[in-house]
C-alpha cells in the first residue's frame, strides 16, 4: 500500500474518479500544465486532456458560475479555487444558485459539483492565503462542507463528495498537505459525509476537532494521554454536522473541549455546544471549552501562531474542562 500525503491523496482520488466517471471534469486556475499551485492536479492534464482538465481565466465567480451550468448540463465539475481567500468572489454563485437550484426547482434540477479549496493558516503566507472561514459555508443551506484531516480520509471523503448529488465545499487543510504520510489504499473506498470519526476511545473527556487543527489537537491529546483517558473525535464534515456521535461521547465522558482555528463567534464549536446543551446538558460535569481562532483578522505570519490554536493552548483548554 502506498504511503501518501494529503495532497497526493487528493490527486489519487481525482485520477481514479476521472478514469471511472467520464462526466467528472476539473477546472480552475493553473490546474493544467502547472498541476495547481499545490500540485493537487499534477499529471491530470496529460492523462485526461484539455477537455476535462481546464485552465480557466482568472475569475472565481466565472469558475463556480460555469460549473453550475456544467452541472445542470450533466457534468460533475470539480472546481479548484486556488486559495481560501479567493473563494469570496464566488460566494454569490454558491449562496444564490449552487445551493438553491434543487429547492428552487422543487427537485427537478440539481448542482452536483465540488469546490475544492485549501484552507487554514500556519504556512507563512501572504494576506488572504490563510483563512479559516468554514463557518461561513456551513451557514449556507444547501451546501455540504467537508474538511478532511488525514490522507486516508481525504481520498474517501473526496470520492464521496464527487459522487454526492449536491454541491460540496471541500476544504483541504493546507498546513498539513505534506505533513503526514500514511497508508492510502489504491482500491476504491468512500467515507460517508455527515459522519464523525472516533479517532480513539476515552472516558474522561471528549475532544472534538477537524481539518488542520486535528494535527495540533492529536499532539495535545497524546501529551495528556498518560494522565487522562481522552476520547478524540474528528468531525470530518461540518455540514452535515454529526452531533449524534459527539452527544453520545459527551454523555459518556461528561466533559468536552472543541478545537478549531476559525473565528470563535458563531463558529462550529458554538453550534456544537448548542446541540450538546439541547441533547446532553444534564450529562455535563463542566462547561464546554472552546479553543479557537479569534474574532479578528487572521494576522500575517509573525503573529499567526498567536492566533492559531497551538498544542499548548489546546492542552490548557482540555485541562480546564477536566479540572472544573
Amino acid at each position: 500500500m502506498a504511503k501518501l500525503t494529503i495532497i497526493e491523496a487528493v490527486n489519487l482520488a481525482l485520477k481514479q474518479e476521472m478514469k471511472k466517471d467520464k462526466t467528472v471534469l476539473v477546472l480552475g486556475e493553473d490546474i493544467g500544465i502547472d498541476g495547481g499551485v499545490f500540485r493537487a492536479t499534477e499529471g491530470l492534464l496529460k492523462k485526461f486532456g484539455e477537455e476535462r482538465v481546464i485552465d480557466t481565466p482568472l475569475s472565481e465567480s466565472g469558475i463556480i458560475g460555469t460549473s453550475i451550468g456544467l452541472a445542470l448540463g450533466g457534468f460533475k465539475p470539480v472546481a479548484e479555487i486556488q486559495f481560501d481567500g479567493f473563494l469570496y468572489p464566488a460566494l454569490d454563485q454558491l449562496i444564490s444558485h449552487a445551493a438553491r437550484f434543487r429547492t428552487r426547482s422543487r427537485g427537478t434540477l440539481s448542482c452536483p459539483l465540488v469546490v475544492r479549496a485549501p484552507y487554514s493558516g500556519g504556512i507563512r503566507a501572504l494576506e488572504h492565503h490563510s483563512e479559516s472561514m468554514e463557518a461561513l459555508f456551513r451557514h449556507i443551506p444547501g451546501l455540504k462542507v467537508v474538511i478532511p484531516s488525514t490522507p486516508y480520509d481525504t481520498k474517501g471523503l473526496l470520492l464521496s463528495a464527487i459522487r454526492d448529488p449536491d454541491p460540496v465545499i471541500f476544504l483541504e487543510p493546507k498546513r498539513i498537505y505534506r505533513a503526514i504520510r500514511e497508508d492510502v489504499p489504491e482500491k476504491e473506498y468512500t467515507l460517508p459525509l455527515g459522519k464523525a470519526n472516533i479517532v480513539h476511545d476515552g472516558s474522561d473527556i471528549t475532544v472534538v476537532s477537524y481539518g488542520s487543527s486535528m494535527h495540533e489537537t492529536k499532539k495535545a491529546v497524546a501529551e495528556l494521554a498518560s494522565d487522562f483517558s481522552i476520547e478524540l473525535l474528528d468531525l470530518r464534515t461540518i455540514s452535515p454536522l454529526d452531533d449524534e456521535t459527539v452527544v453520545a461521547s459527551v454523555k459518556k465522558t461528561g466533559r468536552c473541549a472543541i478545537v478549531h482555528e476559525g473565528p470563535r463567534s458563531c463558529g462550529v464549536a458554538a453550534e456544537l455546544i448548542s446541540r450538546i446543551n439541547e441533547k446532553a446538558l444534564l450529562s455535563l460535569e463542566a462547561p464546554i471549552v472552546r479553543v479557537t481562532g479569534f474574532d479578528t483578522i487572521m494576522p500575517l505570519y509573525k503573529l499567526e501562531w498567536n492566533y492559531l490554536p497551538t498544542v499548548e493552548r489546546i492542552k490548557k483548554g482540555i485541562l480546564q474542562a477536566l479540572s472544573f
Partner: protein, 355 residues
C-alpha cells in the same frame, strides 16, 4: 517609428420593420405570413397574460413580479428562432418566452403566487427557472452551453439580460468565458433603458451596450428591439452560427419598458408622461398588426376573436393555478439536499411539533 491603428471596431445597427408597419424588403427574413400571424398571436397572448398578472397582483392574488409589457417582440422573435433542443436562460422578465418554450401559464402564476412548485419544469421545456440576482444567470448559460459543446450536442443556449446587468461582474466573466471556450451561447440584452429608475446613460458611459461584447471578441449588433423581424433575423443568425461552432454572439435589443420595473415600483416617479407616450407609439405589437393589416390577413374581427381566445386561455390557467393543493410545509426541508439529513429531519420534526 510611426504609430499605427492595429484594430478597428464598428457597431452595426439592424432594423427592418418601422413603426408604421413598413418593412425594408431587402432585409426581410424569410417568414411566412402564417408564421407571422402566429408570432403576433403569441405577442398578444403575452401582453394580455402580463396585464392579467398585473391585475391579479393588485387584487392580492399574486406576489411581486416584473411585467414584460413592451418586450414582446424580443421574446417572441427569439422564441420563434429556436429549435426544440435549444435552451433559454431567463432573468426575471421573460414569462412570454418561458411560456412559448412550453411552460404552462398556470406554472408561471403559481410561482408568482409564492409557490416554488410552479418552477418544477418538465424535461423538454428547456428553460431554467427565473433568476433574480442580476447577471449571475449568464454564467449558468455559458456553463450549460459549454456542457452541450462537450457532449457534441447541437443545442444552443439563449441567455437573457437587462441593460443594468452589463454593469455587474458576472456579465463580464460570462462573456469572457463564453469566447475563451467558444461555447454556443447567444446573449440577448433587453435594453429597456432603465434598471429600475437608473437610465442606461447613467449605467454606462459607453454609447452602446453592444460594444462591450467587442472587448471579448464576441460578434455583436444593436437592433430595434421593438421590431419583431429584426429580432427574429438576428437571433436566428446568431443561433445558426453558434450551432455551427462559431461561438457566442451578443444582441443588444433596444426597447422600452412600457410598465413599471415590478409591481412594487412606480415608474411615474422617474419617467415623464411624454417619454412613455412616445414609446407607446412605438409599441412592438402595433407595427406587426399594421403589417398584417397591410397584407390583408388581419382585421378587427380577427383581433376580437384572438383577444377572446387569449382571455379564455388565461382564465383557465388562473383557475388551475388557484386550485392547486396548498404546498406542504415539509417541502421547505425536502429539497435542500437530495436526501434529508439527520439535522434537517430534526428541524422538520420541530416545525411539525411546534409550528
Amino acid at each position: 517609428m510611426p504609430e499605427k491603428i492595429i484594430q478597428n471596431f464598428e457597431v452595426r445597427y439592424a432594423e427592418i420593420l418601422d413603426k408604421e408597419g413598413r418593412i425594408d424588403k431587402a432585409l426581410m427574413p424569410k417568414i411566412s405570413l402564417s408564421t407571422i400571424k402566429k408570432m403576433y398571436e403569441a405577442m398578444i397572448l403575452g401582453r394580455l397574460f402580463d396585464a392579467r398578472m398585473f391585475r391579479l397582483q393588485r387584487q392580492g392574488r399574486l406576489g411581486t413580479f416584473a411585467p414584460s409589457k413592451g418586450h414582446e417582440a424580443i421574446q417572441v422573435g427569439a422564441a420563434f428562432a429556436l429549435k426544440k433542443e435549444d435552451w433559454v436562460v431567463p432573468y426575471f422578465r421573460e414569462h412570454v418566452i418561458t411560456h412559448l418554450r412550453g411552460v404552462p401559464i398556470e406554472n408561471i402564476l403559481q410561482y408568482y403566487a409564492g409557490d416554488e412548485r410552479g418552477h418544477s419544469y418538465k424535461k423538454g421545456w428547456n428553460v431554467l427557472p427565473v433568476c433574480i440576482p442580476v447577471s449571475t444567470q449568464l454564467l449558468h448559460a455559458v456553463g450549460l452551453a459549454w456542457a452541450f459543446k462537450k457532449q457534441r450536442k447541437k443545442a444552443v443556449v439563449l441567455a437573457f439580460l437587462g441593460d443594468g446587468a452589463t454593469s455587474a461582474g458576472d456579465f463580464h466573466e460570462a462573456l469572457n468565458f463564453s469566447s475563451v471556450f467558444n461555447v454556443p451561447v447567444v446573449f440577448i440584452c433587453e435594453n429597456n433603458q432603465y434598471a429600475i429608475s437608473v437610465p442606461v446613460q447613467k449605467q454606462t458611459a459607453s454609447t452602446t451596450l453592444s460594444q462591450k461584447a467587442i472587448a471579448y471578441a464576441i460578434p455583436s449588433v444593436k437592433l430595434d428591439g421593438n421590431d419583431l423581424f429584426a429580432v427574429y433575423k438576428e437571433v436566428k443568425k446568431a443561433i445558426e452560427g453558434a450551432r455551427k461552432g462559431l461561438g457566442p454572439s451578443f444582441l443588444e435589443c433596444f426597447t422600452y419598458r412600457l410598465s413599471d420595473h415590478t409591481t412594487s415600483d412606480d415608474a411615474s416617479k422617474y419617467r415623464s408622461k411624454k417619454e412613455v407616450t412616445f414609446w407607446e407609439s412605438r409599441d412592438p405589437i402595433i407595427r406587426v398588426r399594421t403589417y398584417l393589416e397591410h397584407h390583408k390577413v388581419w382585421n378587427k374581427n380577427k383581433e376580437g376573436i384572438l383577444y377572446k381566445a387569449c382571455e379564455k386561455k388565461i382564465d383557465t390557467a388562473v383557475k388551475k393555478a388557484e386550485h392547486v393543493s396548498p404546498p406542504n410545509a415539509e417541502d421547505i426541508f425536502k429539497y435542500t439536499f437530495k436526501a434529508l439529513t439527520q439535522e434537517l429531519q430534526e428541524e422538520m420534526e420541530d416545525l411539525k411539533k411546534n409550528g
